[in-house]
């Protein structure tokens, strides 16, 4: 009894000024935050210096002409050739994104349903091209698709076609090449999302009377939506700004926005024009992402109702 009382007394006297240890605990918490910030700082600086500052500088540049502030760089963009480029760029990005989803979804589904060994094998096949250079892969498509390439030779030998198909140096070839390059960016987020779907959901659906196909559409696809959106956004945004593959496989006939940027600098040395092109692409991309995120939230709201 007496020791307990003594204990109470000493606690009371120590805590009488303020709540017990409150200051020390607050200091400790603040210290932890400072250490966390210190760890984050290098990356924050890197992003700030390497990414944000140039973007700001570039967009500033687009408003500067020989005689001070001007909108001339933007006025010049109101021209049919730029309009055509913009349409081509978006057509290609939409098409490639759609193809990646159509091809990638079954692939990711397969990998997500396999044993972990099978899944790593499938993912390895998806990722394998990543380890070869982008340029090499693009030239490989050139070899496969060109007039006397593998595909045309085989098709002619089989008697399917008489004249070689025009598969490259045009929109088709660019779309094929870009879809191949972009596929992993679709499959990986899809796979991650699908792996998170507990098999119990599909079991529950089938227990409630859903055939495998209905269970897939009613339960699996909606639950994989985070992966679908992530994949769509990554592939779409990357496709919008893609340069190497369209430049090589398009053979100059497919004009992408990124090529206009390159031409402004390499051919005309016009940094203002290039900056304006960059800013326009950035703004349109962000607008689309905003729209998609709005659609996604409305979609999930509708589903709840």
């Amino acid at each position: 009894m007496s020791t307990a009382a003594a204990n109470d007394l000493s606690i009371a006297s120590r805590g009488e000024r303020h709540s017990l240890n409150a200051d020390a605990l607050k200091r400790s918490e603040r210290g932890e935050q400072v250490r966390l910030l210190a760890l984050t700082l290098p990356a924050l600086l890197l992003v700030g210096i390497v990414a944000l500052a140039p973007i700001g500088w570039l967009s500033g540049l687009s408003f500067v002409g020989p005689n001070g502030l001007t909108l001339v760089n933007y006025q010049r963009l109101i021209h049919p050739s730029y309009e055509l480029t913009l349409i081509t760029t978006f057509q290609l990005a939409f098409l490639v994104t759609a193809l990646c989803l159509i091809l990638g979804y079954p692939l990711a589904y397969l990998a997500s349903q396999m044993s972990s060994r099978g899944a790593s094998l499938v993912l390895l096949c998806v990722l394998f091209p990543f380890w070869t250079s982008l340029l090499v892969r693009t030239y490989a498509w050139l070899v496969i698709l060109q007039r006397r390439g593998l595909v045309n030779t085989w098709l002619r030998d089989l008697g399917v076609i008489d004249e070689p198909l025009r598969l490259v140096h045009n929109f088709t070839g660019t779309a094929i090449g870009m879809t191949h390059i972009m596929l992993p960016f679709m499959v990986l987020p899809l796979y991650a999302a699908m792996k998170n779907i507990s098999p119990d959901y599909m079991r529950a659906a089938s227990n409630l009377g859903a055939s495998p196909i209905r269970a897939f559409w009613n339960v699996f696809v909606p639950l994989s939506r985070p992966g679908i959106f992530a994949g769509l956004i990554i592939v779409f945004v990357l496709s919008l700004g893609f340069y190497v593959t369209p430049a090589l496989l398009g053979g100059g006939r497919v004009m992408m926005w990124s090529m206009q940027i390159e031409r402004s600098i390499a051919v005309y040395s016009d940094w203002g024009a290039a900056s304006a092109l960059g800013v326009v692409l950035l703004v349109i991309t962000m607008g689309i992402l905003w729209l998609v995120s709005r659609l996604a939230s409305i979609g999930s709201f509708m589903e709840r109702a």
Binding site: S198, D200, Y201, R203, A204, A205, S206, N207, L208, G209, A210, S211, P212, R214, A215, N218, V219, P222, L223, R225, S300, E303, R304, A305
Partner: protein
């Protein structure tokens, strides 16, 4: 809190014709591991049957075979007269509550409940009516528009239950549905589930590893181990007459001590045991099943009447609120536990005091000991 039985529910067939389930010679192997070994089980129509066993005993595999998620290697499963072993799960028309509920997170509570009805082509108004009835059945009126992740564990449990019965299946399966809930809620839900069962009259197969849960809820319990059903019996019979040492130790707080068998007579430490029923077998390796609440501490000088007695020394008292458990060391090193109500003066016996433990002949249970090397430690 209102009970299920007095909650207002619309017209509903009191017991939609429930079906018996007959399992015959069911075998399932995973590589070298045998999950089910020639399992036979006859579940009566409208019965609440619990599959009880430790993990890996095959109880969940058996449930998955009934649901159709696991294809057995051999055997037969019949719902009523109909063989279903080849029927895919979505054609079996049985309700199921999953361990983690498996409520669809992309649908509202009402959406979850409506899903099986939509699949069966019910009309919009009919679906709305039935969803409202089902919500009333589990006392969640007005929760239809909530999303699943806005619900507490107990509410999710109820929604899962409602979804499993809303399409009026004739058989209901439950896979450890209460294991994620805290103790108080679990005990309340045990009673609620049992009342719901009585109300709907469904044949229910319930899987658990919690023996107390099984004893509380079931009409009959099938105890499983190593892919086999060891005993199927009513809870009281299982408790009073376990057929093997495994069952005796799995159910209740049991301590088993080996006894000597000579000329068909059982004796413990040289003292003959009085039994209410004759020994089931004359096997030489048998064990005495001691349950703490059936034992009493006797002071050494008291007459023992017609009790069986065991001499030992007090080792420790453990206070448990409503009762006190006294551990008594026996001469051969085994410990046994004696439970007595709190406030009993037995607690004044100091550790080291010699005591005599008494047990009535009708509580003296002898089972064949499967493994002589097993320790006498009980299982909770």
């Amino acid at each position: 809190m209102r009970t299920l039985s007095d909650s207002a529910v619309g017209e509903r067939p009191a017991a939609a014709a429930s079906l018996p389930v007959t399992v015959c010679k069911l075998t399932k192997r995973y590589g070298a591991f045998t999950a089910l070994k020639d399992v036979d089980l006859a579940i009566r129509s409208g019965e609440f049957l619990t599959l009880l066993g430790p993990s890996g005993s095959g109880k969940t595999t058996l449930l998955m075979v009934l649901a159709g998620f696991v294809r057995p290697d051999a055997g037969s499963v019949a719902f009523g007269e109909r063989e279903v072993v080849l029927l895919p799960p979505h054609k079996r028309d049985i309700g199921m509550v999953f361990q983690n509920y498996a409520l669809f997170p992309h649908m509202s509570v009402a959406g979850n409940l409506a899903y099986p009805l939509k699949l069966r082509g019910h009309g919009k108004q009919d679906i709305a009516d039935r969803v409202a009835q089902a919500l009333a059945l589990v006392q969640l009126e007005g929760y239809g528009e909530r999303s699943v992740d806005q619900l507490s564990g107990g509410q999710r449990q109820r929604v899962a239950l409602a979804r499993a019965v809303i399409f009026e299946p004739r058989i209901l399966l439950m896979d450890e549905p209460l294991s994620a809930l805290d103790k108080n809620l679990r005990e309340r839900m045990q009673l609620e589930i049992r009342r719901l069962h009585d109300r709907l009259g469904l044949t229910t197969v319930y899987v658990t590893h919690d023996q107390r849960e099984a004893l509380t809820m079931s009409d009959r319990i099938a105890v499983m181990n190593h892919g086999q059903i060891l005993q199927v019996d009513r809870p009281r019979d299982l408790y009073d007459r376990p057929s093997t040492r495994f069952i005796a130790e799995f159910i209740g707080e049991t301590h088993c001590i080996p006894i000597e068998i000579q000329n068909g007579e059982a004796s413990l430490f040289g003292r003959a045991l009085r039994l209410a029923t004759p020994l089931a077998t004359t096997a030489s390796a048998q064990a005495l099943v001691l349950r703490p609440e059936r034992l009493q501490l006797l002071s050494a000088d008291k007459p023992t009447h017609d009790l069986n007695t065991i001499d030992g020394t007090v080792r420790q008292h453990v206070f448990q609120g409503d009762s006190v458990v006294t551990f008594v060391s026996l001469p051969d090193g085994h410990d046994i536990a004696v439970r007595h109500p709190y406030g009993n003066d037995s607690e004044h016996l100091q550790p080291g005091t010699a005591v005599r433990v008494g047990i009535a002949p009708r509580d003296t249970i002898v089972v064949p000991a499967e493994n002589a090397t097993a320790t006498a430690s009980g299982r909770a």
